[in-house]
Structure formats: C-alpha cells, structure tokens
Amino acid sequence: MTKLAIVAATVLLALGLSACGEKTQVTVYKQGKYQGKPDNQPWDNDRFKGDRVAWEKAIKGRNSGQNEYVRQAAQ
C-alpha cells in the first residue's frame, strides 16, 4: 500500500512539474532589434561550401556581364 502511495505521489509530482519545462510561445518584442530567425551568409551552403572568395568571384563575373561595352570589347 505504501509502495503504491509512493509511486502515485511520484507520478503526480512528475505530472505537476511537466509544465515547468514548457517554453513561452509569446514573442517578446524589443524595439529596433530584429526578432526573427537568423539567416546565413550566401556562401554558406552546399554550392559554395563557405568559400566566400569563390562566391565573390561569381558575383563579380555576373556584375561585369551587365556591361555590354566590356562584352563587346571581349569579342
């Protein structure tokens, strides 16, 4: 009987404390501070594997590709 009471008390205690581990679901806003999820850098992905120089080189090539004076000279 005593064993049963101890087990019941333990279960009740565990149930009672289970809510304490819950995270708050309300967003706390801090004025002027971004509150959303963090974003990674454009080169931190499978394509560039963190190689910032390679990414900048690719973008630089695309940038200069918009200048048709340069494209004409290259032909």
């Binding site: 501070k33 959303g36 974003d39 004076y69």
Partner: protein
Amino acid sequence: MARMKFLCDAERCIECNGCVTACKNEHEVPWGVNRRRVVTVNDGVPGEKSISVACMHCSDAPCMAVCPVDCFYKNSEGVVLHDKDLCIGCGYCFYACPFGAPQFPQDGAFGLRGKMDKCTFCAGGPEQDFSAAEFRKYGRNRLAEGKLPACAEMCSTKALLGGDGDVIADIYRNRVTTRGKGAEVWGWGTAYGKPEQKPAPQPGGKS
C-alpha cells in the same frame, strides 16, 4: 563586400515587362502580388519614360523603422529582407515605403491582408538555403547560387542593372558619358541618399 543596389536607366527601358515576367516566373509569385512592375510617366505622350520599380533595398530603409514587430533585417550584402513567420500583415511598411514595394496577398474570405511579400533581391529569406520552405515563402535564392536578380539579368536592353552598387554606377556613368544625356537616375537619391544602416544583429546568427 558588395552593397547590392538596383538602378533603372529610363533612357533604355522600353516597357517590355520582361523584368516583371522574369520575377513572377522565377519565384512563382501568386496572382495579385507584383514584386516588380514597370511605371510609365506621360504614357502615350512623345518622350514618355518608363522605369522598372521594386524594393530598392534602401540604405536607411523606412520599412525597417516602422515595423511594429521588427521582422526586417539587412544581410551582409545590404539586402533588406524580412521574416514572414513574424509578419502580422499590418501594412505599416507599405505606407512608409516610397516605392510602394510591399505587397499583400489576399488571404481569407473577406480580402484579409496576408503576410507582406516583396522583392528579396533574389536572396531568399531566413530559411535553409535552397529548401522548399525558403522557396515557398520567399522564392528562389539566386544570390546563394552566385547569381544576380533574375529581373536585371533578363533585361533585354540592360536598362535595369542590379548588383554591386559601385560596379553598376560605373556602368551607368560610362553610358551617360558615351550618349551625352539621361544622367537622371530615378529613385537613387531616395533609396541610397542616406547613410548606410548597419545590418541588425541577429539572435544566434553569424554577423
């Protein structure tokens, strides 16, 4: 690194709407939302001018300043992005934006405003790069593929330039000196005339 900017050359824009179509197609933007559009001044009058308008990713973005839930951030390339999971669709950013960039899809039975949608400079958003969630919420992430925005790269007359601000300004300067006219860049001063605001620190993110 680069400070990404848009520049539209009104002397070259032929109002073909190629940029609008490219954007719609690239990101599968829903009906009623136009991240980019072409505006024509003095339409039908000789000497009419057209410009392609979207979010200019301002140096000191007014949308970031007015957002009541602070869902905007600026990435390391100066691209103004937002977290759709936080957006409440209040529309303050729409009133603050001088370019009318923020768009609100109809959501619900009575034309209720959904979460804000705007040009991302083809840089996706705060989701895993190339993930389905990123594409669904923000569209394709071309910047992470080492590419520039689809609208600028698709422009047939190269009226719309997008990329590193210094590089596109040089391209434009070269054009103006060659043709000897059309030095006015519409919206440039409004978007980039104020000092650059540093990217907001992101919780748990790498700066």
